[in-house]
Amino acid sequence: MSKEDIRSDIEAGCNDAADRGKISALSEDAQERLLEILIAPERVASVEPEDTVVFSTDNGYHSLYGNFSEAGGVGIPIDSTTANMLMERAFGFDSVFYGWLDFSFKSSKAVITQQQQEIESILTNTLSPLIYGAMPNLGGYYKPDGPFDNVGDLMAEGKILEGMETYEKLVDHAKNDIVWVSEQVTRIGTECINIDTTASAGDGGFLSSLKACEELKKRTGLSIEMGMASEFVMGIHGGLEYEGNVLAGMYPHKQVEMAEKAGVDIFGPVVNTNTRKSTPWNIARAITFTLECSKVANIPIHPNMGMGVGGLPMAEMPPVDAVTKASRAMVELAEVDGI
């Protein structure tokens, strides 16, 4: 791409976010700064030392021992304690992490004792705060894995009201599982729960996570991070509300307001990568959405910047220059507190 192509894509990416989110586009100065970062010839970009941020994670040591594309895992046969010690001591991660590989609260219930043992081992061998992560994953509650008819199938058959009623019932089932699993891992000293990939199954997933957060705060006072699944809350139901606010259609700067009301301590906005557009377009768009979220937030903002989100390319091995330039630009221009 030429410099002018990149400048043009930056402007278009900003404008796309501004149009969709009804928010301000990045200033001309910020767009020029982003251009400077992106066209720098170095392979690795970085922020200045005093601007460094901290990292939480929904993946962590899975990147070493996982062997599936979404974790970017390299399939090293290694246990969770050793992997976390490597993440902490060798790679300088700011937090340690545990999550069952299936990564759903519902499926975690059956193996909770195994998880408690592994978490206990990590806690006694590391220094950094431990985050436990899992997803609400409402899809796991549909037959044959769960008790409910598939809401998508019901609606496709024209049974709209029946589908909506079923979806409403799902919310409390998912909420109860999030609370139960979180309480079990808190019993042995887990310090933070990452309710991750929130709203992947739409507004019901968001509502179940918010309600779980509210309940956990009252019962345990536990620190809670909420990571989203996408930039936009899908209206599978369409009418679900939290504190009088319709959840469907919310973008990150509105999502964070709901998260704060529920008691969330760290919010992880997602901006999806559009694979038909260039990396500059996607980074500019991600920064525009995230900056607005950061401006209205009173709690730390840790944007998701893994494969296919936060402006990063959709690739199992994203190029180092793309990752580090996106990382630098996000920290410099979107006023984030971490990643």
Binding site: V53, D94, L127, V323
Partner: protein
């Protein structure tokens, strides 16, 4: 990807004071406030929090654990108990697994 992010913008955890700032963000403090809080408790300036050389000295003095496996120095729960005291916070596993 994780390492690339770390090199680009990370505080680098126990190599510096990243784990301590992370603990304060988990309590809802935004980055600037969290860094100020940790720097105050450690008796250093905010810019020093990301300085590996300075923070290794500070962490050894306070016995709150470093990236090195130093004989006799606090590690694991013992180091975390010291972190809780220095930062004036509760660390659940220190009380539960002590």
């Amino acid at each position: 990807m994780t390492v690339a992010h770390g090199m680009a913008s990370g505080m680098h955890g126990v190599r510096t004071a990243g784990d301590l700032v992370m603990r304060m963000e988990m309590k809802g403090m935004r980055l600037g406030e969290a860094k100020e809080y940790v720097a105050g408790k450690l008796g250093v300036g905010v810019p020093e929090l990301s300085d590996e050389y300075r923070m290794k000295e500070v962490r050894e003095e306070l016995d709150i654990g470093t990236v090195m496996a130093m004989p006799g120095a606090a590690k694991g729960l013992r180091a975390k108990a010291n972190i809780a005291e220095v930062l004036d916070i509760k660390i659940p596993c220190v009380d539960i697994l002590r």
